[in-house]
């Protein structure tokens, strides 16, 4: 499929087209994944960041309270998340080698493995050897989003720091796969650039990776640019109809690929998207460092504003009422080695 064909589909607002895409996607999703939805909990470890990305609440120029959790602190957060039933954790940091080096992440992974079966990281891109160290420490998954594949736009919104290096970031999933990671999540930040061009490039990226590293379980995320403390940052809006088509098209072209949905979306939309192609979602999320147990809400600086604030129990109830089986464990920790 070419970017022109994708553009045509995204711009075709005939209800019948949208419905036909959604039906086909839903059928494929049920066949591949059944009526199951995997749940994970995000844990923000640090918001120190050396990159200046214009759309992000954590960027280096932003005057927010900078925090990095110490082991005793994140252990407390992990215990809270674990007590809610979550067994897959996604640990996130800002992009700072200095504040959250591999040694820090390794320790966090080792402690996380006491509570969780699946451990993934969404942190600054690293070298293959560093990923190998993390894999050996129990990390199974890496999430790294290119945000936009439009180089010009990429340099406009990534003003300084490591993230400015487009090519290093692009090759990050390859390095993570080479290091043995089982799950790799790619994504684009919808709203930054032309969605059909970005989608086309994302699909190409995914195909390249599937060819080179067929054993990896891939998933994709389509966060839409959100407000941070009510400040709007998007340059081009992707409306709900386009969003549904993006999910459906991805499922049709990649029947086995996981599709994540974040708490950035309104509950009502999240609930409908479950039927069409979503396979993974976060639950009980808090996007502030120390947000679960350590800080009062008034003193939190979130990475983005959450639209869906339902607790894990509420999400589980909702899934069950809609005939979905919530999956808490889809991996069992084994000693990782290549």
């Amino acid at each position: 499929m070419t970017s022109l064909q994708i553009k045509k589909i995204l711009n075709d607002n005939d209800h019948k087209t949208v419905e036909a895409l959604a039906q086909q996607a839903a059928q494929l999703t049920r066949r591949q994944f059944g009526r199951t939805i995997s749940l994970y909990g995000p844990l923000y470890l640090s918001n120190f960041c050396s990159s200046h990305c214009t759309y992000c609440g954590f960027h280096s120029q932003n005057k927010i309270q900078r925090l990095k959790l110490e082991p005793a602190q994140y252990r407390k957060e992990m215990q809270f998340i674990h007590a809610q039933g979550i067994r897959n954790i996604l640990m996130l940091t800002g992009e700072s080698y200095k504040h959250t080096p591999v040694s820090y992440l390794k320790e966090a992974a080792q402690i996380a493995s006491e509570y969780f079966q699946g451990i993934a990281l969404e942190v600054h891109p690293m070298q293959t050897d560093e990923y190998k160290e993390l894999f050996a420490a129990g990390v199974d998954g890496i999430a790294v989003y290119q945000e936009t594949y439009d180089r010009k736009r990429y340099s406009e919104v990534h003003l300084s720091g490591y993230k400015k290096d487009y090519d290093f970031r692009y090759a990050t999933p390859h390095r993570a796969a080479e290091a043995g990671m089982r799950q790799i999540s790619l994504g684009i930040l919808l709203g930054l650039s032309d969605p059909s061009e970005d989608l086309f490039a994302l699909y190409q990226h995914l195909r390249e990776l599937e060819r080179s590293f067929p054993g990896v379980e891939y998933s994709v995320s389509f966060p839409r640019l959100r407000t941070v403390k009510a400040e709007t940052l998007a340059s081009c809006d992707v409306d709900d109809i386009q969003f549904v088509k993006i999910i459906a098209l991805t499922r049709i072209l990649f029947p086995r690929v996981g599709i994540n949905l974040s708490t950035r979306e309104e509950p009502q939309l999240r609930d409908h998207l479950l039927e069409i192609g979503i396979t993974r979602m976060s639950a009980g999320s808090n996007t502030s460092v120390g947000g679960y147990t350590l800080l009062e809400e008034s003193s939190q600086d979130p990475q983005f504003d959450i639209k869906d604030e339902r607790s894990v129990d509420e999400i589980v109830k909702l899934l069950k009422s809609r005939d979905f089986d919530p999956v808490f464990t889809d991996w069992r920790h084994i000693e990782n080695s290549l």
Partner: protein, 262 residues
């Protein structure tokens, strides 16, 4: 007509239908389907077993008389499959293991070579090993040597409901391998399960078709009946089994008939 039981590693089973436990919309549907399928062996992925959470623990829904066959879903090589099997045993899931080694997330085809390696190691450790493979005669022979308890060839791509796309290759295994051949993966309808049994397969395993049916328990029961019907047909010596045609007008009769040539 009397049938002999299905015997795997010295254990006898009346049912020749095995059920997979993934993709069900809730645990009750799974429990109902196990009952309706009359299965005596069900396979569960270790990665999906949460021993800590009573309500979500899939094992709570598997009746005591059913043999638990833990599978190594998620393993990408022999080493990982071996680790998962050992962990399953240590977690109290028993020593029956279905080896699944898949290093391709797009097609989900099993890696026969790594599967043979894992079977060798685990069989030597006393596991009852049921390896899942792409139907290949050499791989099946190597599995016999490695100590496998059955051979489980795929009928078509897993989850595809496409039926016996690999029929001829499975027939070769049925003809040549002295272990129970359990047809696994791709079986999307009772008629396809019956077809596999008519060919002489020892048993059939299904999952996706049942788990994603509108009424899983009803389809599970239909599968149970189809497997029985297919087995009966096989035992009856149905004509399809004889690949060499019996022509009604012999072509070589003239060699023996005492008919004078004109």
């Amino acid at each position: 007509m009397t049938d002999t039981p299905l015997v795997i590693a010295g254990k006898s089973f009346t049912s020749r239908f095995l059920l997979g436990t993934g993709k069900f919309k809730n645990k009750q549907d799974l429990a109902d389907s196990i009952a309706a399928s009359e299965s005596e062996i069900v396979t569960v992925a270790l990665r999906r077993i949460d021993l800590e959470r009573h309500e979500e623990n899939i094992l709570e829904y598997v009746p005591a008389h059913v043999t638990l066959l833990t599978n190594t879903s998620g393993a990408r090589n022999a080493q990982e499959a071996v680790r998962i099997a050992r962990l399953a045993k240590a977690s109290g899931c028993g020593n029956w293991v279905k080896i699944e080694v898949i290093n391709d997330s797009k097609y989900l085809l099993p890696d026969n070579h790594e599967t043979i390696k894992a079977t060798e190691i685990l069989a030597a450790e006393g596991f009852v090993v049921l390896p899942y493979i792409s139907p290949d005669l050499y791989a099946a022979r190597a599995l016999v040597k490695a100590g496998a308890a059955t051979v489980m060839p795929l009928g078509s791509f897993i989850g595809s409901n496409q039926g016996l796309k690999t029929k001829e290759f499975i027939q070769v295994l049925i003809n040549e391998i002295d272990l129970p051949i359990v047809v696994d993966a791709g079986i999307g309808a009772p008629s396809q399960a019956a077809e596999a049994m008519e060919m002489g397969a020892a048993a059939v395993l299904a999952n996706t078709a049942i788990a994603t049916a509108q009424d899983p328990a009803v389809l599970a029961h239909a599968f149970a009946l189809a497997v029985k019907a297919g087995r009966m047909a096989y035992l009856s010596g149905l004509p399809l089994q004889h690949p060499v045609a019996k022509a009604s007008s012999p072509l070589t009769g003239f060699l023996y008939n005492d008919v004078p040539a004109n």
